[in-house]
């Protein structure tokens, strides 16, 4: 080996060793540092200030901020966090930097609206974000859909939801069922039938496996709500007729109120506990509003996916 080659090899090996050591040391420093997570820091909280500082490259900066939103939300969601402190300002900065970034409004509103730990649990902020999107993109009918969804399911305001669907339905290219949704909500605000109609439409209008799976999940939960209502009516009828609460399903079957033991959409028998109908495994139905065990409120159950679906374009 010549002297030059020896020197070069030594330098290369030394460089690699030193770099590896420095990486190791940085990781050690991270472990002993204050554990305030980096993603909780908003270096510049003002959207307008960030826009000014972008020197015209606001689109690129918006993409970077949007990526940060996705990473932040993903990390918090995975950690089943109960608060998403900087999600709303991050989304505000992103959409101020690029008001045409439609995915930021669509997905951002979902992130904001869903109850913790699925999301930030701030449907009002979600509605504000989508309204901002509509202001900048009045022809994007999907944003009216999102707004209608938030008002209907999260804010329980069917009148405003119907108005949002109605406004969206007037945009050229909007899905025809936007008009139907508007009418249905205006007539039967909040009913299970309306929800079933909507999720069936979504299921039939998309090929995306994750969206289809979510729609099926929602439809199963709606089926549970509907089943529990019917079963509870039968139990109440039995109680009235016999003056006692039925201890189990066989009593209802023998009295002719039921033909067989009722099964939930996952195939498990419904439970009858102290005259009250409930599901056997609440974890399987994250969106049900009826049939939950006593003390458990709707929305308490973490679902396999809390994401709202967006109809295909």
């Amino acid at each position: 080996m010549t002297r030059d080659l020896r020197i070069q090899t030594t330098c290369a090996l030394l460089l690699m060793a030193l770099l590896a050591t420095s990486v190791f040391l940085v990781r050690q420093v991270d472990l002993v540092s204050d554990d305030a997570p980096l993603q909780e820091v908003l270096y510049i909280p003002s959207a307008k200030a960030v826009q000014r500082m972008s020197l015209g490259y606001s689109g690129l900066l918006a993409d970077i901020y949007w990526t940060r939103v996705v990473q932040y939300f993903g990390a918090r969601h995975q950690a089943r966090a109960m608060h998403y402190r900087i999600l709303s300002p991050l989304l505000d900065i992103t959409t101020t930097l690029d008001p045409r970034l439609i995915p930021a409004y669509e997905f951002g509103s979902v992130f904001l609206a869903q109850k913790p730990p699925e999301g930030a649990g701030d449907p009002l902020a979600a509605a504000r974000l989508v309204e901002k999107g509509i202001q900048g993109n009045p022809q994007a009918w999907r944003l009216y859909y999102d707004l209608g969804y938030i008002y209907w399911l999260e804010l329980k305001d069917p009148a405003k939801a119907a108005d949002a669907f109605d406004r969206g339905s007037k945009i050229p290219g909007a899905h025809p069922w936007m008009r139907v949704m508007s009418a249905a909500l205006a007539a039967h605000a909040g009913e299970t039938e309306t929800a079933t109609y909507m999720w069936t439409n979504i299921l039939n209008s998309t090929d995306d496996p994750s969206l289809r799976s979510n729609a099926i999940n929602r439809l199963r939960c709606l089926k549970v709500d509907s089943d529990v209502k019917v079963l509870q009516d039968r139990v109440d009828t039995f109680t009235k007729q016999n003056g006692l609460t039925p201890p189990g399903w066989p009593d209802l079957i023998s009295s002719g109120l039921l033909r067989r033991v009722p099964l939930d959409p996952k195939g498990y028998p419904y439970q009858l506990v102290g005259g009250r109908v409930q599901v056997a495994k609440p974890d399987l139905f994250p969106f049900i509003t009826r049939g939950l065990p006593p003390g458990q409120a709707p929305g308490d159950i973490p679902g396999e996916s809390g994401f709202k679906v967006v109809p295909s374009k």
Partner: protein, 259 residues
């Protein structure tokens, strides 16, 4: 005259290439390929938008940085190396020809650079979108506007190079670029003032180079068309403004005592 201008321009181009300016293309290629893969995985639904924003911003920024760092040395380096005296004294080259030749040489370098980066950029767009359509012509418009940016900043860097040191010239050039991106805001601020300050601010706002209207990257990333009128007006503006800046450069350079 054309021959002398061409010789200086070509020589400037050759020097820039010899200075390994085109090495930035490697960095650009890595950036584009890396971003198209990485952002597709960590972002939601905006893979193509990211690619366009990042690709065009990189073409713009790389070119501007090169324009400034080469532009500031175009005259001062020649003075420092004493080669300017040979050119001006020993050959029949006028001072304005020297300035114009240097300007065209650097613009030529930047154009070649931008064209090569554009080839890489469109290849990445093709990779992400699987096809190129008529809508992608907007991307060509954005690249044309970036070339106009280069022309403007090259002229400004050259102007500073005629009377200042390279360090101060680069500071001035970056500052004027930053101020130019705020051109719209400056006019807005001027509207909020009254009396003499309003007139002074309005004058200043119209005097700074209008880089703001040359950046349509975000717009084309969303397939929003750029109006032909804006293309025409921006072209005319850059031609007029650049000529004004070059005139000022020649005027200063003519008055400089080079002995």
């Amino acid at each position: 005259m054309i021959g002398r201008l061409g010789a200086i321009a070509f020589n400037t181009y050759r020097e820039a290439v010899r200075d390994r300016v085109l090495y930035n293309l490697i960095l650009f290629a890595l950036l584009i390929v890396g971003s198209s893969i990485l952002f597709g995985q960590i972002s939601l639904e905006i893979n193509r938008i990211v690619l366009i924003n990042l690709g065009l911003s990189a073409i713009s920024l790389f070119g501007i940085v090169i324009a400034i760092f080469i532009g500031i040395g175009l005259v001062s380096k020649e003075i420092e190396k004493k080669t300017l005296y040979t050119v001006l004294a020993a050959r029949p080259v006028r001072r304005w020809e020297f300035i114009a030749g240097k300007f065209f040489g650097l613009v030529m370098t930047l154009t070649v650079n931008a064209l090569l980066m554009s080839v890489g950029f469109f290849a990445a767009v093709l990779y992400v979108s699987h096809k190129l359509g008529r809508g992608d012509l907007q991307l060509v418009t954005a690249i044309y506007f970036i070339l106009l940016e280069y022309v403007l900043i090259t002229a400004l860097a050259l102007l500073f190079s005629t009377f200042s040191t390279p360090v101060f010239s680069s500071i001035f050039a970056f500052a004027i670029f930053a101020i130019g991106t705020f051109a719209d805001d400056l006019r807005g601020f001027a509207q909020m003032a009254n009396g003499l300050p309003r007139w002074l601010m309005t004058g200043a706002a119209y005097l700074v180079p209008n880089f703001a209207s040359l950046n349509v990257i975000t717009q084309v990333a969303h397939d929003v068309a750029v109006s032909p009128k804006l293309i025409l007006l921006n072209t005319l503006y850059v031609v007029v403004y650049t000529t004004a800046v070059l005139t000022a450069s020649v005027w200063i350079f003519e008055r400089r005592n080079l002995k």
